[in-house]
């Protein structure tokens, strides 16, 4: 056994780091072991035996940005000894050292003489004591590897629907309805086994709707709603009408109404105790109609339950709110019990109960008597992202709304107070117009309201736009229906049959008509709730 001190480490500078090379001749010839004596803790016991160095070379080694000048190489010793020297200088373990000599690596068992080293030669060493990079135990999951439904979830919105031949009215209606999460959950609770009270076709349609919605959620590519389409035709044969061998263009409003009717029929029954009519609770609103006959000054009032409000478009109507008011006031001829003949009655309606989702239909199509055809009103009617229908409500309802509205105003006031730049723009106005950013903030708030459903959410009479069904084209029997739906993330997505694309909030309110661009036909608002 030969022990020698490291030639570059005189004891004075590093008293504890003396290396010993121990050569074992018997068992493992030619192999060196080195011990850091400091670690082993018997530094005092070992007598250092210095060896004669017959052939010493001086080289400099460059490592990273440092240069170790004048390192002596004992060419009678294998290069491993040299590496051990470098270990002490750099802290790089010999097995990690790569020493480059003229386009080659210095091998542990190389012969110095064949390398042709010269005195003063510069060598380069590569190597670090860094931890070796290990792959994380749990590798990342890549989108490309995910099953399709998860990819859809990542996309942030669901797939489009394939047009099966003039079925854009159906596709856009279903996309709008699908945007109501409560309806989806009601559907998923729906029992697959038919109960007696529902007729066969309604049941089938309800199941088909449920299937369609879940398929849409799973898929990345556009879905062909074939089964649903078959069932719909069966239930409502008018949708199966053919014209020149093709399916006819249909009215989306009809489809919408029929779908809601069917669903309200089939979803009402299962749990009669708590929620008698789920669909009605979601979409239905009660109107308080007051009939007044000017001739006889008779008055009568009745309540009526409807699924949507109508926005009548006349020459004075420029805004949704005006149209709604217009729609709630009307004249009708009726036999007057007091006069005993038909008389003109003025009908005024007020909203008596508010739905979670307020549907408004723009009455753009009407029957033109003179030309005997369905015509379309192209007039531009603006609609807001945030709708306040307080003044359309009945007295009773207004009273109920007072407190929640006050609270909402307080919260908003606080928010505005925080935002120095905020303007007092929308105050005192019946209908508030806010920019896209503001509306997304508020939608965030409405969703928090949803979460606190247990804590008795209250209606405020304020609604946020969530989906728009538009019609493009000059006449009622032609053109194209497209759905524009706001996602939970606050982004708007356009569902043009199989194509989906992201849209900006400001582009949505541009769908108000007045040209040949898509114009809103049915809009759906979601109530802004507040917990008291």
């Amino acid at each position: 056994m030969v022990i020698k001190p490291d030639p570059n480490q005189p004891g004075s500078t590093h008293p504890v780091r003396i290396l010993a090379y121990i050569e074992t001749k018997k068992e493992e010839e030619g192999k060196f072991f080195f011990f850091d004596i400091a670690c082993l803790g018997f530094k005092k016991e070992i007598n250092l035996v210095s060896l004669q160095h017959q052939t010493m070379l001086t080289v400099s080694v460059k490592w990273q940005k440092k240069v170790f000048e004048s390192i002596e190489i004992d060419t009678s010793q294998p290069p491993f000894v040299f590496k051990a020297q470098l270990y002490d200088l750099s802290g790089v373990p010999p097995e990690r050292q790569k020493i480059m000599v003229k386009g080659g690596l210095l091998k542990d068992d190389a012969d110095w003489s064949t390398l042709g080293l010269k005195n003063g030669q510069k060598l380069m060493m590569m190597g670090t004591a860094d931890e070796i990079v290990k792959a994380p135990e749990k590798g990342p999951v890549f989108m490309e590897d995910l099953p399709e439904e998860q990819q859809a979830a990542n996309l942030g919105y669901s797939a489009g629907l394939v047009n099966l031949g003039n079925t854009c009215y159906m596709n856009s209606t279903m996309q709008c309805l699908k945007s109501v999460p409560e309806l989806k959950s009601e559907l998923s609770n729906y029992q697959s086994a038919r109960t007696k009270d529902v007729d066969q076709t309604s049941h089938m349609l309800t199941v088909a709707t449920r299937e369609l919605f879940s398929e849409l959620d799973k898929s990345v590519k556009a879905v062909a709603p074939m089964p649903f389409w078959m069932v719909l035709q069966k239930k409502y044969p008018q949708f199966a009408q053919l014209h020149n061998g093709n399916h006819m263009q249909q009215d989306a409003e009809e489809c919408w109404t029929q779908m809601l009717y069917t669903l309200s029929q089939s979803l009402k029954l299962p749990s009669p105790s708590e929620d008698p009519d789920a669909v009605k609770a979601l979409f239905g609103l009660n109107l308080l109609n007051r009939l007044h006959c000017q001739e006889s000054s008779e008055e009568s009032s009745e309540t009526e339950s409807v699924f949507s409000l109508k926005c009548h478009i006349s020459h004075e109507v420029n805004h949704l709110h005006e149209g709604l008011k217009h729609g709630l006031k009307g004249e009708l001829e009726k036999t007057s019990p007091s006069l005993g003949r038909t008389a003109v009655y003025v009908k005024e309606s007020l909203i008596d109960s508010l739905p979670r989702y307020l549907t408004v239909q723009f009455v753009r199509f009407f029957w033109k008597r003179e030309s005997n055809q369905k015509a379309k009103i192209l007039r531009k009617v603006d609609y807001p992202l945030e709708l306040d229908i307080y003044d359309l409500c009945s007295e009773d309802l207004r009273k109920k709304l007072e407190a929640p509205r006050q609270k909402l105003r307080d919260i908003e006031g606080q928010k505005l107070g925080l935002q120095a730049s905020a303007k007092s723009s929308s105050k005192g106005d019946d209908v508030k117009m806010t920019d896209a950013e503001g509306s997304s903030n508020q939608s965030g708030e409405s969703s928090t309201g949803d979460q606190q459903e247990g804590a008795s959410p209250h209606m405020t009479g304020i609604y946020d736009l969530v989906s728009v069904l538009t019609h493009k084209g000059r006449s009622a029997d032609s053109g194209h229906y497209v759905a524009w739906v706001k996602q939970e993330s606050g982004k708007w997505v356009q569902y043009d049959d199989a194509n989906t694309s992201l849209q900006r909030g400001e582009d949505i309110i541009k769908l108000s008509g007045g040209g040949d661009w898509h114009m809103a036909y049915i809009v759906m608002y979601k109530a802004r709730l507040i917990s008291m």
Partner: protein
């Protein structure tokens, strides 16, 4: 209205002649007399005098004759010749030309006849019919005296006639000695009188440029050489080489070594380069030469003949080896304050895209992460720090390998190699950063580490040859991804070195029957790069055999295209030298034959501007192919490669590519955007930008992808806001198409390459020199882009790293005599072409004054705005050593 002299009137007595000859001269005189009314008195007098002389010349008395001739001569010479009008004496003598000519023929040989010949020669300037060359013929029989005394216009005319006469005599193989004597005189005259361009033109016409050497002097050699070098671009070979040779000699004669070196580099003549070193005695100047060689990117070893002192030689060799490039680049970066690392998100600027930006996906997309890897690598290239790969390992997010493992399989290769790109040119820290990946047990990571080593060493030479030492052992490993990593790394780090040791390692792979195709393809490419433009026979042989051994199926593979490309790179810019190999290529399987043919042709004539080859290639593109031949792609690229050498060619090529877009087949349309990208690389011309922007929405997604990548190429390293905006919009337009989005991301990375401090242009030194390795890197990428799906969009995306060969800082960094950075004011402006202009014209226009270091955009030139220092190179690009001006006085 010129009066035709009557040649038949000769004969009889002189008096009779006089009488008969007077008649024709009278007629015009009458007409003239009407005009004479307009003449001033002086002119009238001059006219009468001249008429008198003409008469006297024909006088039998020799003394009178002589006196008349003298006076006539006086008059002609005294007239101030202007370019716009015929001098008066000449005008008045016009009617008598015939008379004198006829008389001249009758004269016996004598001095007087010679005298008259001189005068007739001058008169012929205005009188002689086109193509008669009378001026010259009279000149040749006249006195051999000073021709300059007759004025510039006369000499110029004479020169033109000599050129015509020369071609005539050449075809008749007649003697030209008398002509050459005249040429001597004319050249001497021109050179003395600021008409260097005309002297050069004449000498080029008579093919005797050597004469120039005798006549250039200190005052005119610069203009002469300037004209010579720029004329060389338009000359057919081998004349261009000759012209450059001459200008090299002139520069050497006047010890204008930097220019001489430039030409030596252009000629790729190592002997000349050596001569520059041995002739120059100033060590500081030699340092500047080294910087120039380093920028050109060739391997060059100094010997003791060039630099005697060992220490000096080492210092100089260090400069040639580019070891200080990283330092200089970082100095620039610190000065411009762009050291802060940028993330891919900083480049994408998705917040500027409202609404359409993809919603925050919860899972990583491997494709998008790979794109981010490349963007990160390109943007932070050479800065040594970034926010993905070099974040310290003890940060809260976990170990530094994190980003690496956000890439999938082969993506990890590119991710590991990106570390090499970030540490570009800084071999020491680069190697230590890469070290940890060598010990990984994941093959793609090892491959990436190997490639990274190659990238770090790109353009940097080191005595220890670290790249060879580290990569050598991995060439013959089992795993082909590891092998490719090592092979490609060697190709990048030793490009242009012609290293025999590597050849002996790589050549066997080519002809190894067991080696997979991709390994062979990359080996061929690497050999092509290492031996770029060397015409090395042995390498060519190996590649040819490898090509012949390919099976039918392998020839159809997209990667096979790298074999002919490797072969082509061997002959990059070497023109005729390719012919033998091109002949051999005709025997290849027809599937690859034409592809090989086009590649060889385009590489061999790359950067030459050879019009004939452009026509050849155009003819190939004009064919309408029925089945899927792919050779038109390289032909279109070839058009750009050949034409890219000078501005005019580039403009013409852009126009003809536009035609091809309209009439070409699918495979041509796919290559056109790439060709445009090559023509305007790192030079975002608005017209090209618009064309590419249009094509980026093409219905053929291959065309769109090529156009998007090319948008990146033309904007590479410019931070061009317009292209950045276009790409941002494209990223939202294509947000659903993973492939196109990947291309958009890559292009975005390219535009912001090196945070705007780098250029991809293979041209440097005022667009005069073409770096062969840089061109090789770009051409390789473009060939890969001809078929994106299997290569860049497949698992060989790391071919994008071949661009590193062309990456150079677009800076001007002034250093003092100790090579420490020195800040001085400079004017930077649009370069003006001053070739052939008289005096000392302004070389830049619309300049701004900055202090160094500064960035130079395409087409920009810098000049010192102070007299305090003298730059050691006239071309202010890259590293410039400044010497204190000994004559400088403060204010």
């Amino acid at each position: 209205m010129a009066p035709t002299p009557d040649p038949n009137s000769v004969g009889g007595s002189a008096k009779q002649d006089e009488a008969t000859l007077k008649v024709p001269s009278k007629d015009p005189k009458k007409k003239d007399e009407k005009k004479d009314e307009d003449l001033s008195e002086e002119d009238l007098e001059l006219k009468q005098n001249l008429e008198l002389y003409v008469e006297r010349v024909q006088d039998p008395n020799p003394d009178l004759q002589k006196a008349a001739l003298e006076s006539m001569r006086q008059e002609i010479r005294a007239s101030t010749s202007s370019m716009t009008s015929v001098p008066k004496p000449l005008k008045f003598l016009r009617p008598h030309y015939g008379t004198l000519k006829a008389f001249h023929e009758t004269m016996p040989n004598s001095d007087l006849k010679k005298y008259l010949s001189d005068i007739l020669s001058v008169l012929a300037l205005t009188m002689s019919a086109e193509g008669e060359r009378e001026s010259l013929s009279f000149r040749l029989i006249g006195t051999e005296g000073d021709i300059g005394s007759w004025g510039h216009e006369y000499v110029r005319n004479l020169a033109g006639e000599i050129a015509q006469e020369y071609t005539k005599r050449q075809s008749e193989e007649a003697s030209i000695d008398d002509l050459m004597e005249l040429v001597q005189q004319i050249v001497a005259f021109h050179m003395k009188h600021n008409a260097e361009t005309e002297a050069v033109d004449l000498l080029m016409d008579v093919e005797d440029l050597d004469l120039l050497l005798e006549h250039v002097d200190k005052t005119n050699f610069k203009r002469t050489c300037n004209y010579l070098t720029s004329a060389a671009k338009y000359l057919p070979g081998p004349d261009d080489m000759l012209v450059l040779d001459i200008s090299y000699m002139i520069y050497m004669k006047f010890e204008e070594y930097p220019n001489a070196l430039q030409i030596a580099l252009f000629l790729d003549n190592t002997q000349y380069v050596k001569q520059v070193f041995t002739s120059c005695t100033d060590l500081l100047k030699k340092k500047q030469f080294c910087y120039m060689i380093a920028r050109h990117g060739i391997t060059f070893d100094l010997d003791d003949e060039m630099v005697a002192d060992d220490d000096d030689r080492e210092a100089l060799q260090d400069i040639v080896n580019n070891t200080k490039l990283s330092e200089g680049y970082l100095t620039l970066a610190r000065d411009i304050e762009v050291m802060e690392a940028k993330t891919p998100e900083d480049i994408y600027k998705a917040h500027l895209l409202d609404g359409r930006a993809s919603s925050g996906a919860s899972a990583d997309s491997a494709r998008q992460n790979l794109a981010a890897t490349f963007v990160n690598a390109f943007v932070n290239a050479g800065f040594g720090q970034d926010k993905l790969m070099t974040v310290p390992s003890d940060s809260t997010t976990g170990s530094s390998g994190n980003w690496l493992f956000k890439n999938k399989e082969h993506g990890k290769t590119s991710a590991a190699a990106s570390l090499g790109m970030i540490q570009l040119w800084d071999v020491d820290s680069g190697l230590s950063q890469l070290d940890k990946y060598f010990h990984s047990n994941d093959n793609p990571i090892i491959a990436g580490a190997l490639l990274g080593v190659g990238i770090v060493n790109c353009g940097i030479k080191n005595d220890c040859d670290p790249a060879l030492a580290l990569l050598g052992d991995y060439i013959d490993k089992e795993d082909s991804s590891v092998r490719i990593g090592a092979i490609m790394g060697l190709g990048i780090s030793y490009a242009g070195s012609q290293n025999d040791q590597i050849r002996s390692k790589l050549s066997p792979i080519l002809n190894d029957a067991k080696a997979p195709l991709d390994v062979i393809a990359f080996a061929s490419l690497s050999l092509g790069m290492i031996y770029v433009g060397s015409c090395n026979e042995e390498v060519a042989q190996s590649i040819i055999f490898a090509l012949m051994d390919r099976s039918e199926a392998e020839l159809g593979d997209a990667l096979t295209r790298f074999l002919p490309l490797g072969l082509g790179l061997l002959y990059l810019g070497k023109q005729e030298s390719v012919e033998a190999t091109a002949e051999v290529s005709k025997t290849f399987n027809e599937k690859i034959r034409k592809y090989c043919d086009m590649t060889l042709l385009s590489c061999a004539y790359a950067g030459t501007g050879n019009v004939l080859k452009v026509q050849d290639l155009l003819a190939q593109c004009g064919e309408h192919l029925e089945k899927g031949d792919i050779h038109q792609g390289p032909a279109v690229l070839g058009l750009a490669m050949v034409a890219m050498s000078e501005e005019l060619g580039v403009d013409m090529e852009i126009r003809s590519l536009e035609r091809m877009l309209q009439y070409g087949e699918q495979n041509i349309r796919r290559a056109v955007p790439l060709a445009l990208g090559l023509l305007c690389i790192s030079n975002p011309k608005v017209t090209v930008m618009d064309t590419l922007s249009r094509l980026s929405h093409d219905t053929d997604s291959e065309v769109a992808m090529a156009a998007i990548i090319s948008l990146g190429l033309i904007g590479a390293g410019t931070n061009n806001a317009r292209i950045a905006g276009m790409l941002r919009n494209l990223s939202s337009y294509y947000y659903k198409d993973a492939n196109l989005l990947f291309c958009v991301r890559i292009a975005q990375g390219l535009v912001h390459m090196g945070k705007g401090l780098l250029t991809l242009s293979p041209f440097h030194s005022e667009r005069f020199l073409l770096s062969p390795t840089a061109l090789a890197g770009i051409v390789t990428l473009l060939h890969a882009c001809l078929d994106m799906k299997p290569i860049i969009l497949g698992k060989y995306h790391y071919v994008l790293y071949f661009l590193v060969l062309a990456m150079q800082p677009r800076m001007m960094l002034t250093v003092d005599e100790n090579l420490k950075p020195l800040s001085v004011p400079v004017r930077v402006g649009q370069a003006v072409d001053v070739v052939g202009q008289a005096g000392r014209p302004k070389t830049i226009t619309g300049f701004q004054t900055h202090s160094t270091p500064v960035l130079l955009a395409a087409g920009e030139r810098a000049e010192l705005a102070t007299d305090k220092y003298i730059p050691l190179s006239p071309i202010l690009e890259g590293f410039i050593i400044l010497k204190e001006n000994p004559d400088y006085r403060e204010e």
